[in-house]
């Protein structure tokens, strides 16, 4: 068996596909810029990135190669000969499938190593996440099985490239047509095109169920040539029936699951940490999930800027908790700090903290337009003042608005602070803010 597998591996086309995939994967995973990446630095997201690359890119390629290899029985006219041997059609298909997977899986592992090494270079913790990877590998297995079956059954070699294209189109189609509330198409053809921040972590049970479904379905698909073509020995029912049972049970579990939120179909909320990691600068404080502790140096710099900008303004919230983190009861008001990328820098953090500090009017509060700034809502002026004091990028509304802002910023800081404090109260109470000092 092992020797046959090795022969198939050396003589089949999958080795070329593996080489091509390695090049594409190296370009994709090693060429990513850590500063702007939305996955380098987060272990879960790194796994999801490998998984989605595998299912969307590698799966179609491997299935194409497997279809070509399996189609040799027609290209080289060995079908009738092979079909009248003691090996069942299923065993023959499984051998071709195994040889394709034996090339694909090491490449998949290589991609994982690349992605994890990139994340390990950024993250301060080592916490690799495996369940999305297992689902991805199983899905590639299903894609490859379909490739093998098309190769054996299709009388035309032209069908081979359409296997990969078909898979890609199917996945894109499901992504476009999928009902986000149920996500059921994704349940049966899982490609986790999701982005989770620290508030969520993979639902390993569901992902492993999906992996079982994909593998069982792949093995069943491989039995099709033996079942459809009467001359070959039929696959043994004692093997196929348990596989079919596993597929039915797994599909039932995936179908019957109803998630309260779309993003929770494949995820669960991350349990609260015993102690979040926090940084304090004066009266300004930010707490993060422990896995984001690599962000602390940038967070401290951002905190200093926030402290300098609004530290002297009473009443503005300057305690931030990363999204999903529980806040201590009875403590001072806190603001939610969204961290959507693991490589967020001081600039992004400063802007997010300042945005989180801005006073929010009540729901259904109509905007109060200010004549002094060209009839823009007064909240625009508040925000523009805060951003200008922090020297972060500001929106340009109009010349009149810019002139009013410029006049405001030339007033003494104490007067600015007094206006900001009063204006914050008014905004929260849905009252017009006072006229800006001149």
């Amino acid at each position: 068996m092992i020797r046959m597998l090795w022969t198939e591996m050396r003589r089949g086309e999958s080795r070329w596909i593996a080489a091509l995939m390695t090049l594409i994967g190296a370009w994709y995973f090693l060429g990513e810029d850590a500063a702007t990446s939305d996955w380098i630095g987060w272990w879960t997201q790194s796994s999801v990135e490998v998984q989605i690359f595998a299912v969307m890119v590698m799966g179609p390629l491997v299935s194409t190669g497997a279809a070509w290899t399996a189609g040799r029985v027609r290209r080289h006219r060995t079908l009738a000969w092979a079909e009248t041997t003691a090996r069942s059609g299923w065993e023959q298909s499984v051998m071709v499938w195994l040889s394709a997977m034996a090339w694909a899986l090491p490449v998949y592992a290589l991609f994982t190593a690349m992605a994890f090494s990139r994340t390990a270079g950024v993250s301060a913790v080592t916490a690799p996440v495996w369940s999305p990877l297992l689902t991805g590998a199983a899905m590639v297995g299903l894609q490859t099985a379909v490739g093998v079956v098309v190769g054996v059954l299709s009388p035309s070699r032209i069908a081979v490239p359409f296997v990969g294209l078909g898979w890609y189109a199917t996945l894109v189609g499901i992504a476009l047509l999928s009902d986000e509330r149920s996500a059921l198409p994704w349940a049966l053809v899982p490609a986790l095109d999701v982005h989770w921040d620290m508030a969520f972590q993979p639902n390993s049970g569901r992902l492993l169920t999906a992996a079982v479904w994909c593998l069982a379905c792949g093995l069943l698909v491989l039995a099709l040539p033996g079942l459809l073509r009467g001359r070959a020995v039929r696959p043994a029912l004692r093997i196929l029936l348990p596989v079919a049972l596993a597929a039915v049970v797994a599909a039932g579990a995936l179908f019957s699951f109803r998630a309260p939120l779309p993003e929770l179909y494949w995820a669960v909320r991350t349990p609260q940490p015993q102690r979040p990691v926090c940084a304090v600068e004066g009266g300004t404080k930010a707490c993060l999930w422990p896995d984001d502790r690599h962000l602390l140096p940038e967070v401290r710099i951002a905190l200093r800027r926030v402290e300098r900008t609004v530290g002297t303004v009473p009443g503005l919230t300057r305690t931030y908790y990363e999204r999903g983190l529980g806040t201590p009861s009875g403590a001072a008001p806190t603001a939610e700090l969204p961290v959507y990328t693991p490589g967020i820098d001081r600039e992004g953090l400063t802007q997010d903290m300042l945005a989180a500090s801005l006073p929010q009017p009540p729901l259904n509060c109509a905007p109060h337009l200010m004549k002094e700034i060209g009839d823009y809502p007064d909240t625009f002026l508040f925000e523009a003042v805060v951003r200008s004091r922090a020297q972060v990028q500001n929106s340009y509304w109009s010349d009149e608005f810019a002139a009013a802002l410029d006049r405001f910023l030339k007033t003494p800081v104490t007067e600015q602070d007094r206006w900001l404090a009063a204006a914050a109260d008014d905004i929260r109470s849905c009252r017009p803010v006072p006229a800006p000092p001149r």
Partner: protein
């Protein structure tokens, strides 16, 4: 159990009829194939390939029974078919191969297909290649082999499982005269331990290799007997050709 007309037969068909639509390819044929080389002669469309496909379990008869190695095909289910196939060797007329495989790998692959135990596969493949004088070329890719060498590998793959029944469909087609001579010896050697059924158009092959001969015409058996009995049929010169012509007439003369 009756094995055609021959109780010593390794394989037999009894009153088998095979139809392809309105065409009757075999019509009530009964034949037995004992150990030794049996030649199947007949013009194109006589039913030789259909008979071989029955013996290889690729097809089943519409009527009648096929008994192979003590198993009635179709009666024993999946396990019986598999068991029979483990003990049959087949060389199709149009023998396909995988050009990237070496000769050894290809014969080993055939051994895997015939469920030769894994620990014996490589040795059996080497032995089969040695028997067809291909051991020196075992490491060469199939795509690089000549037509004659490919035919030899074809025989090697057909005998790698030490079959009790070997089916050869036009095994010498495409070989030059010298290669055909070597092949005949090889096939004769195979017949010492196995029942070899060889379909051929070539009288020389029949004369040099076959212990028994069956002549088919329009799906029916016109003659079954030894080479001497065929040659003894009324004809011009007492050869295979003349005996054959006596049976099939000038319109069936394809030898």
């Amino acid at each position: 159990m009756s094995l055609g007309n021959d109780p010593a037969a390794v394989a037999a068909v009894e009153q088998v009829t095979v139809r392809y639509g309105s065409l009757t390819a075999l019509d009530g044929v009964s034949l037995g194939f004992p150990t030794g080389v049996t030649g199947l002669l007949g013009p194109n469309g006589a039913g030789k390939s259909t008979l071989l496909s029955l013996l290889s379990t690729a097809n089943r008869p519409d009527e009648g029974t096929v008994t192979l190695l003590g198993e009635t095909v179709g009666a024993g289910g999946r396990r019986a078919v598999r068991s029979v196939r483990e003990r049959i060797g087949v060389l199709p007329q149009s023998f396909g191969h995988y050009p990237r495989f070496t000769a050894l790998e290809f014969v080993e692959y055939a051994a895997w297909l015939r469920k030769v135990p894994s620990r014996e596969r490589r040795d059996r493949a080497r032995e089969a290649l040695r028997q067809v004088a291909m051991e020196k070329h075992a490491g060469r890719r199939m795509g690089d082999l000549s037509g004659g060498m490919l035919r030899r590998v074809g025989i090697a793959q057909a005998m790698v499982n030490r079959p009790a029944l070997v089916l050869l469909d036009e095994p010498t087609v495409g070989l030059d005269p010298a290669q055909r001579v070597g092949f005949r010896d090889l096939i004769k050697g195979l017949g010492e331990h196995s029942a070899v059924v060889m379909s051929t158009h070539l009288a020389e092959d029949v004369a040099h290799t076959c212990d028994r001969i069956s002549v088919l015409l329009e799906g029916r058996v016109r003659f079954t007997g030894t080479l001497a009995e065929l040659c003894a049929l009324p004809g011009e010169d007492g050869t295979v050709e003349s005996g054959y012509l006596h049976l099939v007439g000038p319109e069936g003369a394809v030898l």
